[in-house]
Amino acid sequence: MDYLLNDEQKMIRDLAHKIAEEKVRPVAAKYDQTEEFPWDVMKVLGESDLFGLFIPEEYGGLGTSVLSLCLVTEELSRACGGIAVCYAASALGTFPIILYGNDAQKKKYLPDLAKGSKVAAFGLTEPEAGSDASAIKTTAKKTGDHYVLNGTKHFITNGGEAQVYTVVAMTDKNKGARGASAFIVEKGTPGFTFGKKEEKLGIRASVTQELVFNDCKIPAANLLSKEGMGFIVTMKTFDVSRPGVAAQALGIAQGALELATKYAKERHQFGRSISSFQGIQWMLADMATEIEAARALVYSVARMVDSGIKDVGKESAMAKLFASDVAMKVTTDALQIFGGYGYMKDYPIEKYMRDAKITQIYEGTNQIQRNIIALQLIKEMAK
């Protein structure tokens, strides 16, 4: 389908495609096995200016769009969902600074993030605060011109590898969700260490690690926006980053479809290619149709975000929900087409199924996405 991308968007997509094929696909299996952070690929993405895509021009970026970010994430995910998330998670950690940072904060952090010489991460989730983000226990206490952070964040993508973290902590426990604030914390700050590194089912090229704050003193100037804005910063960040997760899911699904179609043509049983069987053809047709529907939704929502429309929560949630469910279904069916070989690690398809699963879980489980959609629907009805 033609999505009427402009020349610049096509150029961005084509460059990401080239990088995905030449630099990502050849190392996807290696990083899946070693669970090391793919710094060599991050370097290439940085040199190609792809980290600068979503950062305003005045801070060293290209100031393009969420749609461009989605195109890149999709292309990288076609080759490796894990490496793609290292890239996308840096965008997630950077968005709070773009959306709510003051000029000094932007000047200090964005140019390096745009170059990819530094990578960002977003620290919200805690052991007891997953879907219920208001239950976070990490505290930030103001003392003079500093805040002192205490607590533990876990399941943090890019944790330990990123140099810049945006962290949500409670500045006033009595105010519940309205008592949370967002801060920028640099790696290397005394009292900021890294805890358990998770071993994961999928997206194993990305690193997921605990952030531990133990009397970690940061300048008061690192507060993003105002005290009490932590959840608004988080929700608005997710509104613009969720199309990215949706694009990751879309890319994983597309990559799996391509592999399955190729395999179906090559694999012979009963004296002919299995792609000549209607049972296989219909599976491929359904996979392709679902992917196209997901792509139409993801691109539309990304364009909506780029247009500056303020309230995109419902649509963002829809894109993430739909694309990730499609990814899970498509990768499962793709593995089915590979049959017994698909179940083996010698073939690349089982990784796609493992990588797809997380997209239904992170940046809000798909159940939470449905809550967001339903609440907004009811709200709209009440108007």
């Binding site: 610049e8 150029m11 961005i12 030449e22 040199e47 190609s48 200016d49 290209l62």
Partner: protein, 260 residues
């Protein structure tokens, strides 16, 4: 440093099909790319600029669509692209091509180094680089695998040999042809691609270069292509089986029969 890189647009395939009647390459339906060996020359040119400051000018001779390879070079970090384009240049052999390219380089003025890929993947002659150096009367070093250092008006390079390598010091200006061992070409950057898209490509025809018609194109080409063909595939060999003494006597029989 004033760096000049000569590049060529070639079909993206190693299995070039040939039109047996016209003795020319069939370009229809085949994507065009920068000659792979020239990618190393572009990369080396950009690295030289980054290390020593200066300017990289990329030159190609070809039809109007060859402009695309100049833009690709700019997206990798080259500063300027010059397209030598005129129907009068059609049919040039390596002599006429290197003559025309050398005229363009003369028109550009002073330079420190000219970089070329060791050969093009379509014609495989490896003659244009050395030809340019001859026309310009500057030293040439072919098959360079490393530029060790640039000092003032000279350069120390490693030249790839079949076994080992030579270290050569050459005065500048000079022409180098490079092999793939010299570097790993970078991917283009988005900013580079945007710059490339907006760059103005200078186009020079026979008139701008003020060239004698007898020395360019088909007229200026001493090489005449009499016939060009894809060699027939070799038939499969015959495998002999058994113990060595048996095979030896079988082989001897075959040799005897063939000789007879």
């Amino acid at each position: 440093m004033n760096i000049i890189v000569c590049i060529k647009q070639v079909p993206e395939t190693t299995e070039v099909r040939i039109n047996p009647e016209t003795n020319t390459l069939i370009r229809e339906g085949v994507k065009s790319i920068v000659n792979p060996f020239d990618m190393y020359a572009i990369e080396e040119g950009v690295r030289l600029k980054e290390k020593n400051t200066g300017k990289v000018t990329v030159i190609t001779m070809g039809p109007p669509q060859a402009e695309a390879v100049l833009r690709e070079a700019i997206s990798m970090g080259a500063d300027e692209g010059i397209l030598i384009c005129d129907r009068a240049f059609a049919g040039s052999d390596t002599w006429a091509t290197s003559y025309t390219l050398s005229a363009a380089i003369k028109k550009l003025g002073a330079f420190d180094v000219i970089l070329c890929g060791k050969q093009a993947s379509d014609g495989d002659t490896a003659q244009v680089g050395p030809g340019i150096s001859t026309h310009l009367d500057v030293p040439q070093v072919t098959y360079v695998k490393k530029i060790e250092e640039v000092k003032g008006q000279s350069m120390r390079v490693e030249r790839m040999m079949e076994e080992g390598y030579e270290i050569i010091e050459t005065p500048l200006p000079a022409l180098l042809t490079v092999v793939k061992e010299i570097n790993e070409p970078r991917l283009p950057s988005l900013k580079g691609m945007m710059r490339a898209k907006q760059s103005k490509i200078t186009v020079w025809s026979q008139k701008e270069l003020n060239l004698d018609s007898q020395k360019i194109g088909l007229c200026g080409s001493p090489t005449q292509v009499v016939k060009i063909f894809t060699p027939p595939q070799r038939a499969g060999g015959q495998m002999l089986k058994g113990e060595v003494p048996e095979i030896v006597s079988q082989l001897a029989e075959i040799v005897k029969d063939t000789a007879a």
